[in-house]
Symmetry: C2
Subunit: 148 residues, 2 copies
């Protein structure tokens, strides 16, 4: 179920790590592979369990470390909903998140530039935002899928 990284993805990983002075390690490859394999916004524990299948000695602390590293070098985003466990998302395009009340699943929602712009426009002068997080909570007809 867990494919290897494509050449492109491996380069993406290497470039981001090296650019921030860090090394490509087997653990980081495994964790990154898990994130790309199934883009369902897994929690740390889910990443841990999936990655362990392919690298049995991997530790939970390392998964935390890898994910923190990836966030730090811009390879993935953290996704939080209320106080639930943090989830991770490798989709770097601007997008919002929809959490399905029934299943708990998180879907990516594409965010068109003009909507993003209208959002930025509500900030009064003097407010300068680097990050905007948008999250929906509700019901999705089962079978609904976004394109990620």
């Amino acid at each position: 179920m867990i494919q290897n990284l494509t050449e492109h993805d491996r380069e993406h990983l290497q470039e981001a790590l090296v650019k921030s002075g860090q090394k490509v390690t087997p653990q980081r490859e495994a964790v990154f592979t898990v994130l790309l394999a199934q883009r369902d916004h897994p929690t740390v524990d889910e990443v841990f369990n999936r990655a362990r299948e392919v690298m049995p000695g991997l530790s939970l602390a390392t998964v935390y470390n890898c994910l923190e590293t990836f966030v730090g070098c811009g390879l993935v985003r953290q996704v939080n909903h209320e106080r639930e466990s943090t989830r991770y998302c490798p989709n770097l395009a601007p997008h919002a998140h929809f959490r399905d009340k029934a299943t708990g699943r998180v879907h990516d929602i594409e965010l068109p530039p003009e909507v993003l712009k209208s959002l930025r426009s509500i900030l009064p002068p003097g407010f300068d935002s680097e990050v905007i997080e948008i999250s929906f909570h509700g019901r999705a007809q089962s079978g609904e899928q976004t394109s990620n």
Copy 2:
């Protein structure tokens, strides 16, 4: 520093509680008063410390209970940013939150209906959202104040 509730606010509290089959208690009044007195999105601990000044025997668990009750009957909103402590907001108008990176303070940002509409419009068919949360993170020129 902690004013009593206005007649209007007291009625607002009573109405919301009674409507959902719950009672007005001194603890609930104290906690609600604290929330209205200073609309700075306090954490549970901040509410606890402020409310204790006026009701020394109040317990932390009760503050958690009161706030949960208020959220349940729609008197206040929870505000979460990443994994920080939950904050509470009695502003019931549709609004977004701006967290100032420098001070940690959270500001209300008015959300015009047309922007809200454009946001809802990005949901693909089949997605039905009950709650939308929007939060900005960045810098606010010191002294900037929103109108809440």
